[in-house]
Symmetry: C2
Subunit: 118 residues, 2 copies
DNA sequence: TCGGTGCACCACTCCTCGGTAGTACAATGG
DNA sequence: CCATTGTACTACCGAGGAGTGGTGCACCGA
């Protein structure tokens, strides 16, 4: 409803861009980073301590998110502070969660109908 | 805003599920298939003719989408008709398109400010 | 029986992910 | 002023998974 002007034959380059965007978000480590940044901006060290993993790996994932324009980077002396730049990712996550919940509900209904005993 | 009951420390299994969901959608071929199915349900043959690619590949991608609960499968005589089962994917695409558009706008503004002549 | 449609298995290729090593920059102490 | 420390980024490498194409098979209708 926000931008309904997407023609049904989606132009090819746009397809690639959309796929890339989904791929960027479709990583557990990056989702954890975004979830941590949701509360407040944080430096790389803080994020390493929050989500676990090596500093290089976290830095790399942050670079991916920054290149995709999802997070912003700000130098603070010797540290770098990252913050959410595109809050729409949380709306995306909530939509996905809704889909997962619906799917779980359907699955549960099927189990109930089939009979819980196997 | 739909399901705000996602705690900030997202439980680990949910992170994996969300990432998997995004990954399923984050493929150009599957996006094309979903875009084709947006108009009306179609059989594998029709989809092969619409999006291009081998029949096996299309069938496999449809299997992935079906397993993820995004499309539904209905036997119709000798053919199988696929249809959208979770319309929220289009909302996802529109959100992503909005983010891409915003990013392009920002980039254009930067170019305008810096001076077009590099 | 024959033709068509869709699926399952297989091997190949490519991309992504994580780890390691090395480098640049700022702050601090002598 | 120079050396040291801490922080963050980049480059390279190996392992693993996902995507792609090919072959063969099962199913359904004519």
């Amino acid at each position: 409803m926000v931008c309904m002007d997407i023609p049904h034959p989606i132009p090819e380059p746009l397809v690639g861009l959309i796929a890339q965007r989904f791929r960027v978000i479709g990583d557990p480590m990056r989702i954890r980073l975004l979830d941590t940044l949701r509360n407040h901006p944080a430096t790389v060290g803080e994020l390493v301590d929050a989500v676990g993993g090596s500093q290089q790996n976290v830095s790399k994932h942050l670079g991916v998110l920054h290149q995709a324009g999802i997070v912003s980077r700000t130098k603070e002396g010797t540290a770098v502070r990252y913050a959410i730049a595109d809050a729409s990712v949380f709306a995306l996550c909530e939509l996905v969660c809704g889909g997962i919940r619906q799917q779980a509900k359907d699955l549960d209904a099927i189990l109930q109908a089939t009979g819980t005993g196997r």
